[in-house]
Amino acid sequence: MSTTSQTQNLTLVQAVRDGLYTEMSADEDVIVMGEDVGKNGGVFRATEGLWEEFGDDRVIDTPLAESGIVGTAVGMAAYGLKPVPEMQFSGFMYPAFDQIVSHVARLRNRSRGRFTCPMVIRAPYGGGIRAPEHHSESKEAFYAHEAGLKVVIPSTPHDTKGLLISAIRDPDPVIFLEPKLIYRAFRGDVPEAEYTVPIGEAVTRREGSDVSVFTYGAMSRPTMEAAEELAEEGVDCEVIDLRTISPLDRDAIISSFKKTGRAVVVNEAPKTGSIAAEITAIVQEEALLYQEAPVKRVSGFDVPYPLYALEDYYLPNAARIKEGIMETVEF
């Protein structure tokens, strides 16, 4: 990672915008496209000012047609452009699901490497904003299940810019899911210059020896809160922010687990079939003899993402995370 003394204090959504600006300035093949991304600057303002700076050809307002947007991006990517389509909410991606699974993910393999499909499909995801279903759900496991895609979920402004630049430069397609709950929740230092954060590398947010807590996205904050509170109670948690859920950083997962022998996975996706199950399987396969307790999943539940009255029961919070950790520690 390159560094610079010049930093800005940005929110996560501003870091998205900064990452896009940086790569669009550096590479004229990078094209932003999507619903209201141009003159309006995006429904969450993630593309604010890009249309004024780069014009109609580089920042394309599209009709409301997710399948068409992503399908078009496949053709663009195959023939020399680097499209960065925005899906307004991750819950609006399903019309494009066929394009993503059937073509974006498979073009390279199907053509035996003759074609590639370098694109970044950006979408805000996750809950906590008081809206139900499509506007709040966490379905990252759909994309992690499809070989050929990379799935990135940042949790800090710094990682957001660095990972987005990596994603745009990646020779393969990346699903870039942005935790909209923390789009503006806090600010962080972000270098003005270009830099990259590598895809597929987890980061240790807190070192500890009693239990490994794996998380990503908006759940990183309540997880850290839980870990700090538990530290005062004498439990030393290691918190790993995965940052990329496909490919998973298996080495980071396994080495932390071998150190602590206990694991908790925190995410807001429905419990059954989520990425937490994959992490559980990895530690079982790779480090069974180090295991001191069952792996605990603190997650959402197997229901459509509920409207606000039930949201507080659905979304894991620090109290629930602490309980999950203690159950594992006290096993």
């Binding site: 409301l64 904003i129 809206a131």
Partner: protein
């Protein structure tokens, strides 16, 4: 038998009342949302009342409709009760969907309302299916899909029209062209001068009408319904209208000019219909105003009801997932509430 016969004076008054009810409902919903009372997102129908009421008036009570994310107006036009709708917006147990759907997902089987829909363009295929069901069962019912100009760019809308046209189904495809797909003008999203030209591709009748004129909408839908029930297949209607508010409440609307809004507001479907009724001697100005006050009172009462209604119990999140529940859900539901009333526990999740 149409739902509201606007050939009669009583029907005209009822049509006016319905439009006022929608206006008042959405004005109130906008205010409550701004006050932080209503969660999530709300998309208001203000300015488009003539389309919803004109269309639903021409349908028979048993007919089906599908709606959009901007669906409050369609619900009221189809006869849903503002009180249960407002409770749904608040996420309360007494709402049409027991507080699980919110503003964008109100549905009512009894009223033939197959649901508002958070996904742009998702309604027309459902209408095609409802029409197929009516045809198979030999019922005298039609299905009308409301959708926006933005949805005309979605593939599934075209798939739905093609099926309905090919199978001569009793369906009506009604585009509410409110001039903007979210925040982008219609001419930047479509290559057609009139969206009704879409009909030519499917060899079905297509018309563009004035959506600010409730009578024009009523007549067009009545004719389309006649065609549908005679086995002559679907009709594509484009109603030209205008969204007086933003795409969603809170939308900064950098994409349009005040002059345009004012010009369209001068053609307000409610005011223009009211003056026609006054001119024709059907109502006096005073009667129009007292009707408005009556409607405002009804909506204020609906809001108060919703504010005081009960929230759903956390365990209700697991209801209605399957006809017969599955072990995971039974397990989640049994352990979803802490003894102290806080968030659910993880124990044996």
């Amino acid at each position: 038998m149409v739902s509201i016969d606007i050939e009669t004076e009583d029907g005209q008054k009822e049509a006016l009342r319905r439009m006022m009810l929608i206006r008042s409902f959405d004005d109130t919903a906008g205010t409550l949302f701004a006050d932080g009372e209503i969660p999530g997102f709300v998309h208001l129908y203000i300015g488009e009342e003539g389309v919803g009421v004109g269309a639903c008036a021409a349908l028979e009570p048993d007919d089906y409709i599908t709606s959009t994310h901007r669906g409050h107006g369609h619900c009221i036009a189809k006869g849903l009760e503002p009180q249960s709708m407002m409770a749904e917006l608040y996420g309360k147990r007494d709402g049409y969907c027991n507080g699980k759907g919110g503003s964008m997902h109100i549905a009512d089987v009894d009223a033939g309302m197959l649901g508002a829909n958070g996904i742009v363009g998702a309604g027309p295929p459902l209408a095609t299916g409802a029409a197929l069901s009516a045809a198979q069962k030999d019922e005298d019912r039609v299905a009308l899909a409301f959708f926006g100009d933005g949805a005309v760019a979605q593939g599934q809308v075209h798939e739905a029209i093609n099926l309905a046209a090919t199978w001569d189904l009793p369906a009506i495809f009604l585009v509410e062209n409110n001039q903007f797909g979210e925040g982008t003008p219609v001419e930047k999203q479509h290559n057609l001068e009139n969206l009704s030209e879409t009909a030519e591709a499917y060899d079905i009748p297509g018309f563009t009408i004035d959506g600010m004129d409730i009578t024009a909408v009523y007549e067009a839908v009545q004719e389309a319904r006649e065609r549908a029930r005679n086995g002559d297949g679907p009709t594509f209607i484009e109603a030209d209208t205008y969204r007086f508010r933003g795409h969603f409440e809170g939308d900064q609307q950098p994409y349009r000019e005040d002059d345009d809004i004012q010009e369209w507001q001068s053609r307000c479907p409610i005011d223009s219909f009211a003056s026609r009724l006054v001119d024709a001697g059907v109502m006096t100005d005073d009667e129009v105003e007292s009707l408005r006050a009556e409607v405002d009172e009804e909506i204020a009462a609906a809001a108060e009801y919703a504010q005081n209604a009960d929230e759903p119990d956390p365990t209700e999140a697991y209801d209605d997932m399957y006809a017969v529940s599955v072990p995971e859900l039974t397990m989640f539901a049994g352990r979803s509430v802490r003894a102290d009333g806080g968030s659910p526990t993880n124990t044996d999740q």
